[in-house]
Structure formats: C-alpha cells, structure tokens
C-alpha cells in the first residue's frame, strides 16, 4: 500500500504540485493591498486560518502580542484563544506539541521566536516530524509548519542573527522554504501550510519591512520545490535566497549597466533543491556564483556547487564561487557588517568568475 504518486516536475510554469493542488477560495472578493514581507505573512496566516479550520497557531508571544515582529498580529482576536495560543517558554515543547497536533488532523503553525532558539526543537523536528509518515507507513502524518525569523543585519543581540538553514536542509523529510519578497512570502507560506508534510519556513527578518509589494489576498499559493528565476541572463548564474536576493538584484543591476547579463535565481525551497532550474541556467551561462549568509563551510551553497561539479563539469567555464559568511561565530552587532556578505563581495566574486579563463 503506497500512498505515493510520482510527483510532477515542478517549475515556475509547471503543473500544480501537492501544495497548489489544494483548493483555494474563489468565491469571495479578494482584497489587494500593499504589504511588506511580514505583513504578507500575516495576511497569509489570516487567509488560511479563515479558510481552514484545522489551522492552529502557537508559539511564544504570538497571541496578545501578535509576535515580536507582528507576524501573527490580530490572529487571536480573529480566531480566538483556542486556535491562537501562547505556549510556555520551551521550544522543544512547541515542536513536540506541533507534532502531536499534526498527527491528529490539525495543521499547527508554530513560531520559533528566532532561529537561534530552534536547537531545543530539533529533536522533535528531526526524530519525529520528519519521520512520522515514514515510521507509520502513511498511517499518521505530520503536516506542520515551523516559522522562524532568521539572518543578520538588524543589529540584534547575540543568537538573533544566525542563518543555520543548512542544518535543517540536511534532514530528509523536512522541507525548507525561504521567501525573498512579500509576494513570495504570501504564496509560499500558503503552499507550506497546505503541504501535507512538515515545512520549515524561514523568514529573512532583515527584509521584513523592506519594499512593499501589491498583493492580492486571493489565497493563491506559489509552488514549493521550485526555484524562481527572477531575471534571465546569459553571462553568469547568480544563485541565492532570502534577504541576500536584494543585494544580488543590486549587483545584477549594476552589471547590467556594464553590459553584463546576470541570470538571478532565487532558490526559495532550499531543500529539496530544484537543481533542474540551476543546471539549465549554468548550462546556458557556464558561470556560477552562489551567495548566502550562513558560514561557507557546509552551507547549502556547497551542495549546489557539488551538484554542479557532478552534473555540469563540462558546462563550467570558470570555478564556482561561493560568497558566504565566514566560518566563525556570527559577531555581535558592531561587526556584523564585516561578517555579512554584501554587494561588494558578490560583485567582486562575479568579476573574478567572469575574468577567469
């Protein structure tokens, strides 16, 4: 008895996936609003709680306070204290609770206040959330979402600025999704909630309140497991995700003025990786730079580069460079600019790759 069907290939324009397959509401008039990223998240949460009574939100300070970043603003007012719950202060508990709820037909959306506090939750996420379906051969499932703000650049205290997405991405059974704009935050979060399996949804808090985008609150999800090609180009593939997409865009703009055409790819789902899109891009451009905030060694950039070394060796006209955090502890606020990859770092890596050979 296998509950599985072969998945359809997932591309931006491809057929519906598990998540987009879920029905969306088309009867009521959809409101359109200018939103920054954190507002888009809030809007998606409101939308899905209104349309799916099994959705429950839990975490520290998510109820009356609306989340320390206001991502869960007004949810308790709208959906009540049963479905929007402040938990005691214990991340392992939050994760275990979510696993238990998910096995019984609810869809918990847990907030871990900052990614730096996720470690106590890992035992539940790795040993249970990722395995419940497999362990029970499909009898019980674990459709939960764990939202966590992550990344640096807001001058926060110690432990509030790390990017440890690679730890989660290495765990089979966990999906790891990272939006890079308000629009994608809205669509990807809806997809994550509708996904029948656990999804870790990492929110780049540095751009929580960056550029607003016009979003139609129509419940339309975006596909998971799919890169978004933000800009097509011929000379080099620039691969990134999360907050750094904005630096990458700046660099692509600068280079465009110099007549260099960069193909910019937002990986979005960092696990499982959509290497099809990346390989096609590199097959075209022959050059690749990957940028992420996490420490370079063992980061997801390494996995992408390794797959290029396996599948695209003959396409590569230059070494694959990674622009990343250093292999050291994230420094406190005074030195975080020194640590975080910036426009100049990406720029000079691209120059190096373009100059090669």
């Amino acid at each position: 008895m296998s509950a599985n069907l072969p998945a359809s290939s997932q591309t931006v324009t491809g057929p519906a996936t598990a998540s987009t397959r879920a029905s969306t509401d088309t009867t009521t008039e959809a409101e359109t609003k200018d939103c920054v990223l954190v507002e888009a998240i809030n809007m998606a949460l409101h939308y899905e709680m209104a349309h799916d009574p099994t959705v429950v939100v839990l975490g520290e300070d998510v109820a009356s306070n609306g989340g320390v970043f206001r991502a869960t603003l007004d949810l308790q007012q709208a959906f009540g204290a049963e479905r929007v719950r402040d938990t005691p202060l214990a991340e392992g508990l939050i994760a275990g609770l979510s696993v238990g709820m998910a096995t019984q037909g609810l869809k918990p959306i847990a907030e871990i206040q900052f990614m730096g506090f996720m470690f106590a939750a890992l035992e539940q996420l790795i040993c249970h959330a990722a395995r419940m379906r497999n362990r029970t051969r499909g009898r019980l499932t674990c459709p939960l979402v764990v939202r966590m703000p992550f990344g640096g650049g807001i001058h926060a205290p110690e432990h509030h600025s790390e990017s440890t997405e690679a730890l989660l991405a290495h765990i089979p059974g966990l999906r790891v999704v990272i939006p890079s704009s308000a629009t994608r935050a809205y669509g990807l979060l809806l997809a994550a909630i509708r996904e029948p399996d656990p999804v870790i949804f990492l929110e780049p808090k540095r751009i929580y309140r960056a550029q607003a985008q016009r979003i139609c609150n129509d419940g339309q999800a975006l596909p998971l497991d799919t890169c978004f090609t933000l800009r097509e180009g011929e000379d080099l593939s620039l691969i990134s995700w999360g907050a750094l997409i904005s630096e990458c865009t700046q660099v692509a703009d600068q280079l465009h003025e110099q007549g260099i055409s960069v193909e910019l790819i937002d990986v979005a789902t960092v696990s499982p990786l959509d290497m099809t899109t990346i390989l096609q891009s590199v097959a075209k451009t022959g050059r690749c730079v990957i940028a992420h905030e996490a420490p370079k060694s063992g980061g997801i950039g390494g996995e992408i580069a390794a797959q290029l070394a396996e599948h695209a060796l003959l396409d590569l006209k230059a070494p694959v460079l990674r622009v990343a955090g250093y292999d050291t502890v994230m420094p406190y606020a005074k030195k975080e600019a020194l640590y975080l990859p910036g426009v100049e770092d990406i720029h000079s890596a691209i120059q190096e790759v373009l100059a090669f050979g």
């Binding site: 296998s2 238990g100 029970t136 497991d225």
Partner: protein, 364 residues
C-alpha cells in the same frame, strides 16, 4: 510575613506482595470479567514477551526490550482506556498496544527491523513506539490539545520510564498539561532502573509522583505490581481527565525483572539478591493468588488460558515469518506524501541497487 503551601502525595496499594488485601477493594472489583481480562492479558503479555526474547536469541529478530515483571502497568493502561482515547506509548507498552488492537505480530515486525511494525492496523490514531526517551510526552500534550480543540471527548494516556523523568520534556509536557487543562494521564513505569542507572542516581525526589507538584497537577504513587491499584488509579484518572479536563501523573512502582534489552547484561551492574527479592513481588503470581482466593481461578482455567495464548503467539510468529519483503521503493516512498522531483533519480538508484543486491544474493 511567613506563609505556607502544603502538598501531599499518596501511595495506593490494595494487594500486597502475597496477594492479600491491604485495603477494602474498590467498587468495580465486583466486575469479574474485568478481573479475568486483566489476568489473561498479563499472561498473554508475558508469553508473547518470552517468544520475542526467544526470537531475538535465535537470530530471528533484533534487539528487544522485554516487559517482564511490568505487565500489570501496560495491561491496565490498555484496559482502562476507551477506544476513542489515544495511547502514546513507550517501548515497553506492547501489551497496551495489543489490547488496543495492534496485531501481536507487529511487535516482532517492529523489533525485527521493519517499519510496518508501526502501522498499528492501518487506522489507529495511537502514536507508534517512541525511541528517543521522553520525546513522546510533549507529543502527547499535542494530541490532547488537538482533541480539545476539535471538541472530542477522548483522553490521552502517555507512558514513560523512570529514567525519562529526568529529561526536560517530561516536565515541559506536565507543566503544559497543567496550564492548558489537558485531558491527559501521564504514567511512569518506575522499574527502578534506566539501563544501568538506578533510581537513586536518577533523582533525589522521594517519589516520582511528586514531580506533578512542580506542574501544579495531581500526582499519585501506586504499587505497579498490584493490578487492582494500577487499574483503579488509571481508570479514575482517565475519568477525571474526561469529565473535568484535568491532567494527572501516576507513578507505578514496578521492577525490571529482565535485562534492559536483549543487548544488555544486567548482571554486570545489578545485584543478584536485589533481583531475587523483587521476583517475590511480581504481578502475575500475586494476581493469580488473589483470583484463586476469590474463587475465580483454578488450574484448569490456567491451562486453557495458556493454550489460547500459545495459539495467539503461534499465529503471530507465523504472520511475522511469512511477511513478504517490502518493496525497496518503500524506503523513500513514505518520506513525503508525494515524491519530490529532486528525489526521483535517487528512487531509481534505489531500485537498481535493490536489483543488484538481489541478484548477488541469488548467485550465492
């Protein structure tokens, strides 16, 4: 100003080690079929357990954690629960799981190293066995929260060992059960050992039941070798949980008469005399003596019971040994609801590798 808060923890035992009554029996004791069911399930549990150990010893099964001497707790847990309640078991709870509808063969299948041993007859919503110690406890709190949110009247029963009470999850779950008024009963099988670590090195608390005080919930200590006390305590706690949405902790004092698992050798760290002394307290004999005294049991019934149990076991073993190998794709097909595109190549590799392994084995 000096104020004072008082707390107390009670100990409950009806049958002492000689099967004699220490207290007037509870009201439900007139329910003869129930008494017999408790006994029969304990015998069934012990015999199935013996078979599991034998299968392991003969190389037909993997490492296995025996329930020897701790049958009263798991059997009474299973019997005290209603069908729509949810069991969140630990790895010495096969007796409860079987009472709740798991096929006995699944015990062998699971410990034989096959995921289908967690399928619990396909439709159960009980959680499977949990290997990482204490992690089931917060999950159980989640299950109870779900029942509450969905407005169902089920109660969650979750169990763990004495060692598990040292792990933070235990306290986190009990504390939450208190704050959220969860319908959940926590049961500790205090078999006095966590592998080689004796209770005295696990905690200085005089009882494990008093850990409930930290969560502001009710705690009770019972003689875990006394099926009457165990059943009484669990069924009443379940009732309170159902009626008043009140959690409770029950510490059942037992003793691990076996090695920790078949991979362990308890004689390395445990005194032979201590073990011998505890054999005098074990629940089966005690309860059999009680039933004899009550005129409810005799040698003939015992013989018939043994035969029925043997039949169940034979069927289970046959089912286990006849189980067809799961197709190789299963190791990846159940990871997600739908196979992610990124895994398609690996799935193909798995099929190829399986094929290669099989051909090599055929050649041997």
């Amino acid at each position: 100003m000096r104020g004072r808060q008082q707390f107390s923890i009670h100990f409950l035992q009806y049958l002492n080690a000689q099967g004699k009554l220490d207290l007037p029996l509870p009201e439900w004791i007139t329910d003869t079929p129930l008494l017999l069911t408790i006994y029969e399930n304990m015998v069934q549990a012990r015999l199935l357990d013996q078979k599991a150990v034998a299968l392991q010893r003969t190389g037909q099964m993997g490492t296995y954690p025996s329930t020897l001497g701790q049958e009263a707790i798991s059997v009474c847990t299973g019997l005290a629960m209603a069908k729509h309640d949810v069991l969140v078991p630990y790895y010495r709870d096969a007796p409860a799981q079987i009472i709740r509808g798991m096929s006995p063969a699944e015990v062998f299948i699971y410990w034989g190293g096959d995921e289908r041993g967690g399928n619990l007859n396909r439709t159960s919503r009980d959680l499977p066995i949990c290997v990482p110690i204490a992690t089931q406890l917060t999950q159980a709190a989640g299950v109870a929260t779900a029942l509450k949110i969905k407005g169902e009247e089920g109660v969650v029963v979750v169990s763990c060992g004495d060692g598990a009470t040292s792990k933070g999850d235990f306290m986190e779950a009990m504390n939450l059960a208190g704050v959220w008024d969860l319908p959940i009963v926590f049961i500790i099988n205090n078999n006095r050992w966590a592998i080689s670590v004796p209770l005295a090195q696990q905690t200085r608390a005089a009882t494990l039941a008093q850990k409930a005080i930290a969560a502001g919930i009710e705690g009770l200590q019972v003689d875990g070798n006394d099926p009457i006390a165990v059943y009484d305590a669990i069924s009443k706690a379940i009732q309170r949980a159902r009626e008043n949405q009140q959690p409770a902790l029950i510490e059942a004092l037992s003793y691990r008469l076996c090695d920790h698992t078949t991979a362990d050798d308890a004689s390395r760290y445990r005194d032979a005399d201590e073990l011998k002394a505890h054999w005098q307290e074990e629940p089966l004999l005690r309860f059999q003596q009680f039933l004899h005294q009550q005129g409810l049991w005799d040698a003939e019934r015992e013989k018939a019971l043994q035969q029925r149990c043997q039949q169940v076991i034979d069927t289970a073993v046959a089912e286990y040994l006849a189980l067809e190998t799961e197709p190789p794709g299963a190791i990846i097909d159940y990871l997600h609801a739908f196979l992610p595109h990124a895994l398609e190549t690996q799935r193909a590799e798995i099929m190829l590798k399986s094929h290669a392994i099989n051909s090599r084995e055929d050649q041997k």
